[in-house]
Symmetry: C2
């Protein structure tokens, strides 16, 4: 990755989260002026659904002090709710005058959004209005800043054609146009990201804002160079059925002798990427901003696996470690195609210089060993799904 260095004022919205925290550390380590905004909502949702991260996460204040001790670098922080307090958000923009705004500050879980009516409407209100607030605050305060927004590959669903990056040229009855790629999301959460994408594209069009929408695949892993510097710099590792992503969940199952549970047939294919590549992609997008008025979409993943392939990779790695691992198919709590074509493109980030970190046996083994050391802390009851797509049900 070759990036011409120019230090930026970078604001990380949701900077206390799984990806926001290591992103903030990385940009800080690189010499950028970094500030974090967070409202601690994720920590509340964790309590709410009984889904604590595997490794204890210090308070944001403690994490920032630890970063200062370890690196000598200062990251500022502001506590507030970007969805509920527009004035707060504008104040932050006015004081910090960010050049790049990395926006992770959304309710990030599909199962959480499917629990019941309250969580469904909360998710859409929180995510859509939060992003609308960011757009209005940008227009009023920092109209030249670059919004780097985390979307999801789940916005596209599983169409029977190649998934292009945000736009597709369509030929229809002898005429042609390049239009937004059709979206078929699979949860209220995923739809909130679709809604965001539409709103952001419109703001770019009318106000000449610049934005990159990163449609990210499923992220796995926990280790980045900065979080590895000290145990107090660790990021949140979720293995529960609400906030835990597939590979992380499988690793915890294997480490506790629980069968690795695959939803349905397991032929559901998805794009995946290592947490280190998330940060690499966000950096590439940030260092190469679009022109004023441009709404740009990158598909952000490095490899495609079926859920079963992923389970098998974990199972094989566990067996190499001498553990007794098995795979079990369980009834799919989601409504999704289980056998489908899947061929998404990710040329944009590769062209910018992304060097993918492949999911190697060594990587899975090291994750297994790390999780295994903390296995006393694992809450086995949090792993199996209780949220059903076909019916609302209280946790």
């Amino acid at each position: 990755m070759r990036i011409d260095f120019r230090p930026l004022r970078i604001l990380v919205l949701g900077g206390d989260g799984y990806l926001g925290w290591p992103t903030a550390l990385h940009f800080s380590a690189k010499g950028h002026d970094v500030a974090i905004v967070d409202n601690m909502a994720k920590r509340r949702w964790e309590e709410e659904v009984g889904a604590m991260p595997l490794f204890p996460i210090p308070s944001l204040r403690q994490r920032l002090a630890a970063w200062r001790e370890c690196s000598g670098l200062r990251i500022r922080s502001s506590l507030g709710d970007i969805a509920g307090d527009f004035e707060f958000l504008k104040d932050v923009f006015q004081e910090f005058r960010p050049e790049t705004i990395i926006h992770y500050a959304e309710q990030p879980s599909a199962p959480y959004s499917m629990i019941d009516h309250r969580r469904a409407t909360f998710t859409q209100r929180n995510n859509v209005i939060g992003t609308l607030n960011v757009l209005y605050a940008m227009q009023e305060v920092v109209p030249h800043a670059h919004l780097v927004k985390l979307g999801t590959m789940g916005e596209y669903g599983t169409p029977n054609i190649d998934i292009e990056e945000g736009f597709i040229e369509i030929e229809h009855r002898g005429r042609k146009d390049t239009l937004p790629f059709p979206k078929q999301a699979g949860s209220w959460y995923h739809w909130s990201k679709v809604h965001d994408s539409g709103n952001i594209s419109f703001a770019c069009r009318i106000w000449k804002l610049r934005a990159t929408d990163l449609n990210q695949g499923v992220v796995y892993g926990i280790s980045t160079p900065e979080t590895d510097m000290n145990e107090r710099l660790v990021t949140s590792f979720h293995y529960d059925h609400v906030f835990g992503t597939a590979l992380n969940r499988f690793v915890v199952q294997a480490a506790t002798g629980h069968p690795i549970t695959v939803y349905g047939g397991g032929n559901q294919k998805r794009g995946f990427l290592n947490i280190r590549d998330t940060i690499q992609c966000v950096e590439l997008a940030s260092m190469n901003p679009p022109a004023a008025g441009e709404f740009r979409v990158f598909n952000q993943f490095t490899e495609v696996f079926s859920v079963f392939e992923l389970a098998k990779a974990v199972c094989d790695a566990a067996r190499i470690l001498g553990w007794d691992a098995t795979i079990r198919r369980i009834e799919n709590p989601r409504v999704e195609a289980e056998d489908h074509y899947y061929n998404p493109r990710n040329d944009h980030l590769l062209r910018l210089g992304l060097t993918p970190t492949a999911l190697s046996d060594e990587l899975v083994q090291s994750l297994l060993r790390r999780v295994s050391e903390a296995k006393e802390a694992i809450n086995r009851e949090a792993i199996m799904p209780t949220v059903q797509w076909r019916q609302t049900r209280s946790l």
Copy 2:
């Protein structure tokens, strides 16, 4: 229009509005059991932006009493906010047990949504959460009911290909799929309808609800057989720049000797329909419900005109009446293509039996005469646009 009659319990959400009111009367006149839900918000927005309907509108209670006097028929009503009070909505569903839910209960104005941050976020929250509430209440209480939801042709924008009805078959790199038609809306209001469409399609998929999304063109006119029965049954006629649609606005300008003002070049093409055809279409959709789990999209308009053609139709009709009418182009307050291809399809409703009411000279003349009789009441200051798409600005 041939419709086999079976009386239904029909709930009209937003039944106090421009279209909701005549819709409720029509179904009541046809022998259906009709109930109205409204929160009177439109009347508040009218006060807020100084945009009163041309003909005074009695209170909902008075209108319903007038309907009972004129027709001998009773329409029930419940006052409450479907976006803010989910329990209220469920109570209404539980008591009335609607078989058909006609959903007009949204903030309906593009310019209103573009006024400022507060109105933008209000519009999206109100419309998106209101519709999510309807979907959840249906799933919990009346999962077999048919949702007839008013969308807008403005969801599609002006692509350079024919606009199909909700879905399009795409051939791409040798593969094929039928996917949601790409959306490129032109205001926060229009985007709220796009978001609704996505959410409704998803609810049909996971819960097997049935829904018809009516992507409606620009409605003009004020007269329906039922509203014409008595002056107290009139529906709201808006001619202001916030709630007034193009033809209605032009008629008021011509009737007051004001130049007919066209935004920009005037070559912007849109689908239009007479208010009588709105009701005809909603009835056709309601009497021919989709199967369980089906999300169906109809494009609901009868004719395509450019804004200039529409202005010219009004100008010509006014001159035939001996009035001194002119057309003036003014700077376009919106961000929109002014020269573009436009060929939307509307086969579905035609196939169901829609018999279009054409925009005739006689129709424009009768509208001109009717408005002219009320011209003392016209507030000329409300006609010219003050809301700018390119910048937020207070009214």
